[in-house]
Amino acid sequence: MQNKQELVPIRDGYGKALLKLGEINPDVIVLDADLSTSTRSNWFAEKYPERFIDVGIAEQNMVNIAAGLSMEGKIPFATTYGVFICGRAFDQIRNTVCYSNLNVKLVGSHGGISVGPDGGSHQTIEDIALMRILPNMTVVVPCDHIQAYKATLQLAELKGPAYLRLAREPTATITSEHCEFQIGKADIMTEGNDIVIIFAGTIGAEVIKAVPLLHQKNIYPTVINMHTIKPIDKDVLIKYARKFGKIITIEEHLKAGGLGSAVAEFLAENAPTKMRMFAIDDRFGESGQPDVLLDAFGLSAEKICQRVEKFLYEG
């Protein structure tokens, strides 16, 4: 059973990492668009006010100010809800940040339907698609607060545009301080012989919860955490596609353009594999409690278990 106290929002990991960066890297600047208490960038703001910029509710301006700062050697982390930074400021990200290949870090909190009651307007389920299609961009989707912490620190060291997706809800911690984490290199979380499940993001907590349920049905999956959507870990994909011949991808994102889509694009040309994508299919999210929504969208541990079983035995 999960202990309620173990649930930590992934954005806390981001907030802590910014504090660390504030201490070790004087070039790091944090920007927010009036949502700093919600994204956790306020922790940095309190400690390093001279390196924090609140632009007000103006995401387009924020992204291009970050671009200008990066041109002068700063490492800006432009932060707000994913739906606003990727959608409202897409042209700024495309034409200024990516086309000029600038060292701007874009951070979108409140990814996926697990945002909950705020509803479809605030649940970004298209951000991965929008960001990963852009040349020069790196896209990282950590699974818990510990991984978000490590990802943030590594992104500060990585030159070039990057998008980091965070989530709102407190979720189970499924990695530990000792786990290795490297942008671009997938984590193999458990090895089994029946099927391979690839996930990205905090939905990993549901996937990990589904594993013992699958064991009860005598199904032993290999579970891969594909925290970096771009560049995707091609070696791991080839290896496991060839080994299993069946792949399931799981994500809190639209089926179009997300993790599953990225996996399919690569495998279709290099190791065609039978796939199922557990994702959100061509619709917006809606209001509701996160657990209710995940279940309704077929992404709760129980639903994942049922769907895996169905795919394995029925195809």
């Binding site: 007000g56 301006n61 200008g68 041109m71 200024t96």
Partner: protein, 277 residues
Amino acid sequence: MERSEIITKLQKKAISIRYEIIKMIGKAGSGHPGGSLSSADIGVALFFYQMRYQADNPKWEKRDRFILSKGHAAPLLYALLAQANFFDKKHLSTFRQYKSILQGHPASYLTPGVEVSTGSLGQGLSIAVGIALAGKMDKKSYNVYTLHGDGELDEGQIWESAMFASHKKLDNLCAIIDRNHLQIDGVTEVVMALEPLVQKWQAFGWHTIAIDGHNIGQIISAFDEFLTIKDKPTVIIAKTVKGKGVSFMENKAKWHGKAPKGELLKKALKELSTKKD
């Protein structure tokens, strides 16, 4: 050098820059002559009077920064950069061609002296704000200049950045508006009225200077004035004529993004070379 001498020299340079603009667009068979010509005098005053830079060291830390927010005036920027020796003039004849270092709109990864890629309107002022802010944080002495079309002011982002720049007291930032009164679909005041423009910028907390954008004396005085302003950003609203210097292009919206061909190209070049001599 005497002020009158400086002015005469810059006037001459402006004519050769206009000549290069038309030659470049004529050779390419496409491009944007109207707004390149209207801001040619401003561009010349920026590059050959106002800004500090080292052409053989485009990333020189102390350089003044220039952002061409109206990226479609790329021919003007390229003519200026070539004239200032950022790259060989021979590249101008490759403008808009495959593999050229001179793309249709400025691309910083290809062209020495281009600070950042532009072309989607309304973004340059925010970028300049970021650069100006970094300058303030690090106590650097450089200034940041931007050039905007007046039609570009329709973009909401311009006003986001205008608010921000005065809020942060960025007196190292100077925006220049090429106020030629025309945008692609016609007269600005018909398509989307901008007036009273000076008052708008004042209301946003900027120091405003309204000038004739073809009068070199007024342009350089405005730049001199900018250097004396403290605690607020400056905007120079330069009244200009779209297509300035080529008789059949002047005040015609249709020459916003069209290349002169055949006899018209010859006529335009002849008009400009007559003025050159």
